[in-house]
């Protein structure tokens, strides 16, 4: 029996000592940055870049069937469309030099850039573009993209350098979708394992769960990439990634949290961007008491967003007031963030007016794998308690969340973040129209529906923008949800590197990154 006691004691002790071991390792790693080639100052011996990424590119490397955001992020450097997004969210001509849109906005005539080569050496022509459009329409796993391409009547070769695309109905966001139709050679079938595109980097190799290697494509049509070679090292374990950072083994890591970037070595600097998603306490507008606008507004007044940012991310993150994040500079309305200042008194008054003078009980359902959302939910529960609302945080598996909350709409409130599948206002706003299948919160507003319908019916950019902004204001004034923040996205980068750019999309543009002399 003595061994039994010992075993019990040990198993309990292991719980804390095993973790001790990790702590020690981390501390030991700090300061030993001799392995870093870039530390010597001046031009590093090799013009190479090592990027730490959190997941393998394990799904498929095919431009139309790759699903993981992490895969799309890296292959953004390998594939290009006729147009491509830039860091400010505009669409700039890439493989097309120019695009003429017919009067009825149904026909897009693209003039292709001359002398574009694929990574395998063949020249791009109109046949390749048409092939890409057709393959994308047939195989794309991006539902909004395939829905947009379903309206495609035809993509035709006009001559060697001209392609005409005809739509069944006008779509003022069509260029955004065009940028997702990556152009690939029509006579190459190895895309799933060895992608061939036209981008500034060409794919060299992938070692499973180890690394992905890209090299500069010397015959790139545009401005050539600054570094010769990029190695994306895969660290699927968060602790391993931190150890690599502490040891100086990587030059660039994106998507870190504020607590992860504390206490890093001196060779790094931390850049702060945003995750490009709308984190909110999403309210089931169809369920009592959230069907009462006064209750929803009371919740908005009860929540202190600044305190949420302070408690969960040391004050980092961007406050939001509606379903739009600031990377959409054109559509983001800063004034909405202060529509509901923190005012517990007003919240209580509104609750009393709505018939809940003593508050009520509610549940906040959160997917347990997203720590930032769980943390936010915990802080919100604490803040709501101050106005008499007893909020219980219920953690569920991601799949349970998808089926019960997102598809089943069987919830009271939930904290998650919604991102935009593409660079269109519709990607964020369309989902809240009354009939939308994705309208998880069952938000009903004829005014909102009318504004979006109007916006999508016209092509004038200024008018559209103002209509979208009005729609955002409706969401905020109706207090459809308690909007919280766009989470901070911390990027750790070697101090000698320049040219990192935050995009309004989940991509990592490697082409501009360079070592400073």
């Amino acid at each position: 029996m003595r061994t039994r006691t010992l075993a019990l004691f040990l198993s309990a002790a292991v719980m804390s000592t095993a973790l001790c071991g990790c702590g020690g390792q981390g501390t030991a790693g700090t300061g030993s940055d001799g392995a870093n080639t870039s530390q010597t100052g001046g031009e590093p011996p090799a013009n190479e870049l090592t990027v730490g990424i959190a997941q393998d590119l394990g799904d498929s490397l095919d431009p139309f069937t790759m699903t993981a955001a992490g895969t799309r992020e890296i292959l953004f450097n390998v594939y290009e469309g006729l147009y491509k997004p830039d860091a400010s969210g505009d669409f700039i001509p890439a493989l097309a030099e120019d695009c003429a849109i017919s009067e009825d906005a149904l026909t897009y005539t693209f003039t292709l850039r001359d002398g574009v080569q694929f990574h395998n050496g063949t020249a791009m022509d109109a046949e390749d573009v048409v092939y890409s459009f057709n393959t994308c329409a047939a195989t794309s796993v991006d539902s909004s993209l395939s829905a947009a391409l379903a309206d495609l009547v035809s993509a035709d070769v006009v001559d060697e350098r001209t392609v005409a695309v005809t739509l069944a109905a006008p779509n003022s966001d069509f260029l955004a979708y065009v940028s997702s139709v990556y152009v690939v050679p029509d006579d190459y079938d190895g895309q799933t394992t060895a992608p061939v595109g036209t981008g500034p980097f060409r794919f060299v190799s992938r070692s499973v769960q180890e690394n992905v290697i890209l090299e500069r494509f010397d015959r790139y049509w545009g401005e050539a990439a600054k570094v010769d070679k990029v190695t994306c090292k895969i660290y699927e374990d968060g602790n391993a990634l931190m150890t690599a950072l502490n040891g100086g083994a990587v030059d660039l890591v994106c998507h870190l949290t504020t607590s992860q970037v504390q206490g890093l070595g001196e060779q790094y600097q931390v850049l702060e961007g945003t995750m490009n998603l709308v984190q909110a306490l999403y309210l089931n507008n169809a369920a009592a008491p959230f069907d009462d606008v006064r209750v929803r507004q009371a919740l908005c007044y009860a929540v202190d967003v600044d305190a949420v940012l302070d408690l969960t991310a040391d004050g980092h993150g961007t406050k939001l007031g509606s379903s739009m994040y600031p990377a959409f500079t054109k559509y983001f309305d800063d004034s909405l963030t202060d529509l509901y200042p923190h005012d517990p008194e007003k919240a209580r008054a509104l609750l009393a007016e709505a018939g809940y003078p003593d508050g009520f009980s509610m549940t906040i359902t959160v997917p347990s794998n997203y720590t930032p959302h769980v943390d936010t939910a915990l802080v919100l529960a604490e803040q709501l308690a101050a106005v008499g609302i007893q909020a219980q945080v219920v953690e569920v598996e991601w799949n349970t969340w998808l089926t019960d909350v997102y598809q089943g709409r069987n919830f009271e409130t939930t904290v998650v973040g919604f991102d935009a599948a593409n660079l269109t206002a519709n990607a964020l706003l369309q989902r809240w129209t009354s009939g939308a299948g994705k309208n998880m919160i069952s938000f009903q507003s004829s005014e909102y529906d009318a504004l979006l319908e109007q916006a999508n019916a016209i092509t004038d950019d200024g008018d559209r923008t103002s209509l979208f902004r009005q729609a955002e204001r409706v969401l905020a004034e109706e207090a459809a949800n308690v909007y919280i923040q766009d989470l901070a996205d911390m990027v750790v980068i070697n101090k000698s590197l320049t040219g990192f750019q935050f995009y309004p999309l989940y991509v990592l543009d490697l082409s501009q990154i360079a070592w400073t002399a």
Binding site: L19, C20, S259, V374, E382
Partner: protein, 277 residues
């Protein structure tokens, strides 16, 4: 034939019993205290006192939300002990009942029930609990139910052995001759005599329950964030071990170690007492 519980042993002083009882008493006293009073509100967040190291104002420091870890540990111990008590109560009662019936009567009922117990034991219990909770969903009562059922075989086995052994002893035979029915014999005559064997089983079962609850909460399928149990706190704390908050996980882990150490020593001490016969 009743034997009083005492630390007296033939031979050297039973330090296991004394030390175990002392640690357990202190932890129990702290738990009771935590039900009525904690130095701070365990849920109160404060952005100004985030991630403080242990200091006179906060004995175990504060966590990433500025909550007092000592207050939360006191409360968490209550949650953990409550779950463990319920688990031991359920599995102990059911296990003893099953063990008594199967051990006393034997026969095909014994075979069936014991094979079911074997089947349950054949699975790694944490894994089985994970599967069941994945289906039922996490939550305090689900954890209690699942662990309560999973722990039945260990009690049933011990009780069965004792009842089978006592069945043929003279005092049972005498009772039977005096006309006592089987239920009376089991409850009034045999059960009290199984205490020297059952009590250590209870203390070990209690240990296992504390660890199982902590493990499951650590794996994220135990209690929700609202009922902060020790395992849940350990799970929260471990992600901050490398990021400037090591005392969080260490303090909570230490609390679990003390809890279990106390009960283990107590169980060991109970085992080492002079045998009943």
């Amino acid at each position: 034939m009743k034997k009083r519980l005492s630390g007296r042993a033939a031979g050297p002083t039973n330090w296991f019993l004394y030390l175990g009882a002392a640690i357990t008493l202190v932890m129990a006293a702290l738990t009771v205290l935590g039900c009525f009073w904690t130095p701070y509100d365990p849920g109160a967040m404060d952005s100004l006192s985030k991630a403080l190291p242990p200091c006179p104002a906060h004995w175990m420091g504060t966590d990433n939300f500025g909550r007092d870890i000592f207050s939360r540990a006191l409360q968490g111990m209550g949650a953990t002990l409550f779950i463990s008590l319920c688990v031991v109560a359920i599995s102990g009662a059911a296990g003893t009942a099953i063990g008594a019936v199967t051990g006393y009567f034997g026969g095909w009922g014994d075979e069936i029930l014991m094979r079911i117990c074997d089947a349950i034991t054949a699975f790694p219990s944490i894994l089985l609990a994970l599967v069941i909770l994945a289906i039922l969903g996490p939550g305090k009562w689900n954890v209690i139910g699942v662990l309560g059922i999973l722990f039945i075989p260990s009690f049933a086995r011990v009780a069965r052995g004792e009842f089978a052994r006592c069945r043929t002893l003279n005092y049972v035979k005498s009772a039977r001759l005096m006309g006592a029915g089987p239920w009376r014999i089991m409850v009034r005559h045999i059960l009290p005599n199984t205490a020297p064997v059952l009590l250590p089983a209870v203390s070990i079962g209690f240990n296992n329950a504390v660890l199982a609850e902590a493990s499951m909460s650590f794996l994220g399928i135990g209690v929700g964030p609202a009922d902060a149990s020790l395992g849940r706190m350990l799970s929260d704390g471990q992600s901050y071990l490398l990021r400037g908050l090591p005392w969080y996980a260490l303090c909570v882990g230490g609390t679990i170690v003390l809890l279990i150490l106390g009960f283990s020593l107590l169980g060991e001490g109970l085992q080492r007492r002079k045998p009943a016969f």
